[in-house]
């Protein structure tokens, strides 16, 4: 077995030499990123470093300009988010999370609406199940909103992020990616989400956690990667580094 195969088998995710250009803009430059099963990996770096772009490639939204991705031991090629979801990758995106005019339960199940048959042959949206399971999805993460039949528009930023996270964690994915999930959250809400990520790890999921708050990353992650201007400049075990060291690396780039 050659080196490459070993790397792709040992890791749940192995992104190899990923570059991404938007026209002339280089968002990612030859990034190698490996994630072991059942670990929480923090992804940090300044605004515009390329964090969101990297995970959008992993979640099937963008094809990489260059590079190869292995997931679960296999080389994969996602042509749409659907492929990534089917492979077992759930994502809460920073910017394009929810449909404002859609009710909470319809948001949580959009794209995967539960059906039942009426009179044995007429497909029918199973609203009872959607509502019940949406409540469960939010209950799982310790969030209780007035009614899951309200539209998302009237929720606070933190509540919207909770719905988005409820959605990403409901389906028991192998890999859960969270892109700045706590940016709009209160301290109390944030604490719940950090605990949630630890629970996800304990129940066998792998988590990528993007955050600006290095302290939050240190409190739960096993490892952390630092991006700067499209390059990965460090990949450290939490147990072998300190918050000060990481801050210094980010500052000095």
């Amino acid at each position: 077995m050659n080196m490459q195969n070993k790397v792709s088998v040992d890791n749940l995710v192995y992104m190899e030499g990923i570059s991404k250009y938007f026209g002339e803009v280089m968002a990612l430059d030859d990034v190698y990123f490996a994630i072991k099963p059942c670990e929480i990996v923090g992804l940090v770096g300044d605004n515009g470093a390329g964090k969101s772009t990297l995970i959008k490639i992993l979640s099937g939204l963008y094809p990489p300009t260059k590079g190869v991705i292995y997931f679960d031991g296999k080389k994969i090629h996602f042509s749409s988010p659907r492929d990534a979801i089917n492979a077992g990758i759930e994502t809460t995106h920073q910017d394009l999370a929810l449909v404002d005019d859609l009710e909470i339960h319809r948001n949580i199940f959009m794209g995967r609406e539960p059906k039942r048959l009426l009179a044995g042959f007429i497909p029918y949206l199973n609203k009872q199940e959607m509502i019940r399971e949406a409540e469960k999805a939010l209950g799982n993460i310790g969030i209780h909103l007035g009614s899951v039949e309200d539209i998302v528009k009237n929720l606070s930023g933190g509540e919207k992020q909770s719905v988005s996270i409820g959605r990403a964690t409901y389906f028991k994915a192998k890999l859960v990616i969270m892109d700045e999930p706590t940016a709009a959250m209160s301290l109390k809400e944030t604490k719940k989400i950090l605990e949630l990520m630890v629970r996800l790890k304990e129940t066998g999921s792998t988590v990528i956690f993007i955050s600006h708050n290095i302290h939050h990353v240190f409190s739960i992650a096993d490892r952390l990667a630092i991006l700067s201007r499209g390059k990965k400049i460090a990949d450290l075990k939490i147990s072998e580094t300190t918050e000060e060291e990481v801050s210094t690396i980010i500052m000095n780039n």
Partner: protein, 319 residues
């Protein structure tokens, strides 16, 4: 609980349309006591039904975030193809109708395919195909109306009357309103339509194939437009090449009066049905009041603006 439900329904975006429909009904019935007679109500609904079939589809499409300005041309083109196949080529009427309905699906596919693959606004795509499809009608018909009198059952089923009085058109109107309501509110596809029009990027990230959703919805609208065309041509026994002109905007007006957003993601079939009934009341009420029919679209325009103002007012009050 009941109070909450009541509050909710008052906050409904489509409240404007309900007010407008009721006010209009009251005004017309004061002006002419015949307005609310069963026979006249039947006429009113009949007058609304062809537009209503189209508007149901147009609403789905607008909720998906797209427009179709070609429905009026499709409304004429498909029955015209049928009339020519039937009258000039002796194709059995049932096959001629099936060819026309299949053509409708193709026309809708063209609208959806160009819009999604070229990434241009459907307003432009369908403005173009509106002109193209209309040109085709005029060319194949040589500018002349074509008779489509047929004793076949299908003619009665699509455009006849039950007994001497009750137009089948009303049943088709209710049927397609029901189908569209079912699709939008009670199917997974309906949820995908709302997600696609509400926030396309979020829908894509959630794994929805928005291109597919849009193309299918375009095809559905075209099918309804053609079907409405058959309802009319079998009722009248002929197809005129300028049939359906103006329907594209009237259908959008009826949808918007009913609370459908121009920006996608929001709209209800019930609202549209009420919006369509308003257009029927206007058409009929104007005749009853002895007002010149030239005023018809003027009335519709005023109500469009009034209903939208009420809706905007309501949604502002909610914040």
């Amino acid at each position: 609980m009941a109070a909450l439900k009541l509050k909710k329904s008052f906050e409904m975006r489509g409240l404007g349309v309900l007010i407008a429909a009721i006010v209009l009904a009251i005004v017309f019935s004061i002006a002419n006591s015949n307005f609310l007679s069963p026979y006249n109500l039947l006429i009113t609904v009949r007058m609304a039904s062809e537009l209503g079939i189209i508007a149901a589809g147009v609403t789905l499409l607008m909720v998906a975030g797209e427009f179709d300005l070609s429905v009026g041309s499709t409304y004429a083109l498909c029955p015209m193809v049928t009339a020519i196949l039937y009258s000039n080529f002796n194709v059995p009427i049932i096959f001629a109708v099936m060819v026309g309905l299949m053509l409708a699906l193709v026309l809708g596919f063209i609208n959806g395919f160009i819009t999604t693959k070229a990434g241009i606004p459907s307003f432009i795509t369908t403005l173009g195909t509106m002109l193209i499809y209309r040109a085709l009608v005029l060319v194949i018909a040589g500018g002349m109306p074509i008779k489509i009198r047929s004793e076949a059952l299908i003619s009665d089923v699509i455009g006849g009357t039950i007994g001497d009085l009750f137009p089948v058109a009303i049943i088709w109107f209710l049927f397609f309103i029901g189908i569209s309501y079912y699709i939008l509110e009670h199917t997974a596809f309906g949820n995908k339509i709302r997600a696609t029009g509400g926030n396309k990027e979020a829908a894509i990230a959630a794994g929805i194939n928005t291109t597919r959703v849009k193309i299918i919805t375009f095809m559905f609208v075209s099918f309804l437009a053609a079907f409405a065309g058959y309802v009319q041509c079998f009722r009248l026994g002929s197809v005129a090449p300028l049939n359906g002109r103006g329907f594209e905007l009237q259908a959008i007006a009826a949808s918007v009066i009913g609370g459908t957003s121009l920006f996608g993601g929001v709209g209800t079939i019930i609202g549209t049905a009420l919006g369509v009934l308003i257009t029927g009341m206007i058409k009929n009420g104007i005749v009853l009041l002895g007002v010149s029919v030239y005023w018809q679209n003027g009335f519709l325009g005023s109500i469009l603006i009034a209903a939208v103002i009420i809706n905007v007012f309501i949604s502002k009050r909610r914040r």
